[in-house]
């Protein structure tokens, strides 16, 4: 019953709120979509924190994503002990980089008075949730040598079962508590997207890669994104 709630109901609550909430916020409060960068107020510590955090996180997420798409190959890779160690070490280093960056960002946010002036309660909530997430990840990497195989063998099928609307709790309910926290906290993170500055990753400016440098908007032309059509003389 307990497991049913946390692993079969809670994920859907988080996903639905995240999707509806983000869409609502985009439609009604688009001004608030921002990375809310504080580099202007403090640049040096941000460099060490933000760069380590973001690159570490992108690496960690990329590995998770590959495992999510092709779990069999992860299991196959891990059949040879050397390769398992390589996998675990890579994950561990990336996780450590992420953790280090995150801790620096937290210290910066708490210690710099200029940064405290632009810190909202939700920022602190988010940082706490992120810290729990990274810490449980690092914990798993250190104390459970089979973490990556567990992920591929149990967590990935579970995630797929959630996405296919037939959640299979039996896949994950026997895993250690710290892994449980990692999974549930991940859904909590998703839940927080529309309520925190996390929305900035939804608006990563990919189209810049192919957009022409100059942007012109017209008032009096039909292709204008402005108040439409105008005068025809």
């Amino acid at each position: 019953m307990y497991d049913q709630f946390w692993f079969a109901v809670f994920p859907y609550v988080c996903l639905i709120i995240a999707i509806v909430g983000s869409a609502w916020r985009y439609a009604n409060d688009r001004f608030s979509y921002s990375s809310l960068s504080s580099q202007f107020l403090e640049s040096r510590q941000l460099f060490w924190g933000s760069v380590a955090w973001h690159y570490g996180l992108l690496g960690v997420l990329a590995v998770h994503f590959v495992g999510f798409l092709i779990p069999e190959s992860i299991l196959w890779w891990n059949t040879v002990p050397m390769r398992l160690y390589l996998m675990e070490t890579t994950g561990f280093i990336l996780a450590l980089l992420t953790l280090m960056g995150l801790i620096m960002l937290i210290v910066r946010r708490m210690s710099k008075s200029r940064i405290r002036a632009v810190t909202s309660p939700m920022d602190m909530v988010l940082l706490t949730v992120l810290l729990v997430q990274v810490a449980t990840g690092v914990w798993t990497a250190i104390f459970y040598r089979w973490g990556s195989s567990w992920y591929a063998a149990f967590a990935v099928p579970y995630l797929w079962s959630v996405l296919q609307f037939k959640p299979d709790v039996s896949l994950v309910n026997h895993l250690p508590t710290v892994v449980h926290i990692h999974i549930l906290n991940a859904f909590l993170m998703v839940l927080l997207i529309p309520f925190t500055r996390l929305v900035h990753f939804l608006v990563v400016p990919i189209p810049y890669a192919w957009r022409p440098h100059q942007v012109v908007r017209w008032n009096r032309r039909e292709d204008s994104p402005g108040p439409l059509e105008v005068e025809k003389t």
Binding site: F31, S37, F40, L41, E42, R114, P205, Q214, W218, P227
Partner: protein, 495 residues
């Protein structure tokens, strides 16, 4: 030929008295909110000096504008690949310490302090943190300090020798440089914005920043070589000069323009050929000024008028361009120059360089004020010609010299007319050299010294009424919206 209209401002620097009224008028209207205290969309700098933010002209430090790359140009701050790589920490971003930490004073202490032996004082407190701070920089911190070795000596436009020479007491001089957004034809802020939040209005050339699309990736701040996009640390959005478009659209002059005490500002329409933007911005440095002038089209040319109609430029814009005071100064008389054209953004604000007192140091320490040499010679100008060229012509001394010679000719002509103590042969030689005629001199003199407000401000209405009538049944559709595209919703920092 792709004819477009640009609203362009021109500054006559000889008339600027450095009173900062424009800056204050602008601030009171636009940047008196939390997060914008340090923003001076309009500021006035003392030259030689370091400007605002400190040493903004030094692109080795700030990486603003464009640089040549093969036959074309690239942004100095980042190409597209490094934009993505540096998005988590933008390596060239100025911080608030390059500007100043905004402050107020604890006025309540003046009333609440306990009785004591000393007068109570109102201590400065930071407007960001609320803590006590020591003020060590401000928006016009080097105002009038061109004799100072702390400020003027750090002017990026001066060479080492010039710095030495400039501080000889007889040569000490300064002039004022009012600056707003240049509303460039090839704006680096627009080009560097990953979100596409910045855009140029096709109809009037005003460069704006869509607050709903800005995501605080912060590249515009570095991209703009004039440092005229500012980051609002409170809302997490960038902001910039909007050329007072809500005022322009209702037929009012921009606040800086309207409040100008010296009446140094002129606002008019220029028609230009948008097809030439890329080629002009990529031209060799010493041709930049001339090629930019060539982009500006003659509004009386029937071909241009037809082209304007074809590309949707409203006829009232063409009419305004025909009467444009800026067109006369920039194109017809070739007196006004862009600021730092070597940044290659094709800035569309123009400056008439100051003639300054041209009296220089004489050999025996005595100034020559004979009537023959009434205005003496440009070679004795207190500021080296190279300095002016570094500001206004990308180092082309000939061009800036020609402008100053024309200004001298007008003065000499008027002096000859009013006082009659000028050598007529010399005046004739000046006419020949500069290509001016008595009629042209008279015209320049009139528009320089005696213009009415209507002579200086020639902007057509923006025809918002047509937009309103044609696009809706309900006249209140656009109520509480701002600008093209309409701004709706809360303007509050996200969480």
């Amino acid at each position: 030929m792709d004819v477009r209209a640009q609203i362009s401002m021109m500054f006559h620097l000889d008339k600027c008295i450095g009173c900062h009224t424009c800056s204050v008028a602008c601030k009171n209207i636009w940047t008196d909110r939390e997060g914008t205290e340090y923003m001076w969309w309009n500021n006035v700098e003392t030259k030689p000096g370091t400007g605002y933010p400190t040493k903004w002209e030094d692109q080795e430090k700030y990486k603003g504008g464009w640089q040549p790359k093969g036959k074309t140009i690239k942004l100095k701050v980042a190409d597209k690949a490094s934009t993505f790589a540096n998005i988590f920490h933008q390596p060239h971003l100025p911080t608030i310490d390059d500007y100043y930490e905004p402050w107020t004073y604890k006025y309540s202490d003046l009333f609440d302090a306990k009785a004591g032996d000393d007068q109570p004082t109102a201590r400065p407190v930071s407007l960001i943190t609320g803590k006590n701070i020591d003020i060590n920089a401000g928006p016009n911190w080097d105002d009038d300090l061109s004799g100072s070795s702390v400020y003027a000596k750090n002017d990026p436009n001066l060479t080492e020798d010039e710095k030495q020479a400039l501080f000889e007491i007889e040569r000490l001089t300064m002039f004022y440089l009012p600056r707003i957004c240049n509303h460039c034809l090839n704006p680096a802020c627009v080009a560097s914005c990953p979100s596409g939040a910045l855009y140029k209005r096709g109809d009037d050339g005003i460069v704006l920043l869509d607050q709903n699309t800005c995501r605080a990736w912060r590249f515009c701040i570095s991209g703009c070589p004039y440092k005229k996009t500012y980051y609002n640390w409170k809302t997490g959005k960038s902001e910039k000069c909007i050329l007072c478009f809500p005022r322009l659209e209702t037929g009012q002059a921009p606040a800086c323009f309207h409040s100008c005490v010296g009446r140094i500002r002129y606002l008019g329409v220029l028609l230009y050929d948008a097809d030439k933007i890329e080629a002009t911005a990529s031209a060799p440095e010493n041709e930049l000024v001339e090629l930019q002038r060539e982009m500006i089209l003659d509004p009386h040319d029937p071909e241009v008028i037809a082209g304007a109609e074809k590309s949707g430029v409203h006829f009232s814009m063409v009419e305004a361009a025909q009467k444009s005071p800026v067109y006369k100064f920039v194109k017809k008389w070739k007196l006004a120059l862009p600021l730092h054209p070597e940044f290659r953004t094709l800035p569309m604000l123009f400056y008439i360089p100051p003639l300054l007192p041209v009296l220089g140091r004489m050999e025996d320490g005595v100034y020559n004020v004979d009537s023959d040499e009434y205005f003496t010679s440009l070679d004795k100008a207190r500021l080296p010609m190279r300095y002016m060229a570094s500001l206004f012509t990308a180092g082309n001394e000939e061009q800036v010299r020609l402008v100053l010679e024309k200004l001298l000719t007008v003065r000499t002509y008027k002096r000859a007319e009013e006082v009659g103590d000028m050598d007529s042969d010399k005046l004739k030689a000046m006419f020949e050299k500069t290509g001016l005629t008595p009629e042209l001199c008279e015209e320049i003199y009139r528009l320089t010294s005696l213009p009415t407000f209507e002579d200086r401000f020639v902007i057509p209405p923006m025809h918002r009424e047509y937009v309103a009538e044609l696009t809706m049944d309900d006249p209140y559709t656009f109520k509480a919206e701002i600008g093209f595209g309409g701004f709706k919703g809360r303007i509050e920092r996200g969480t």
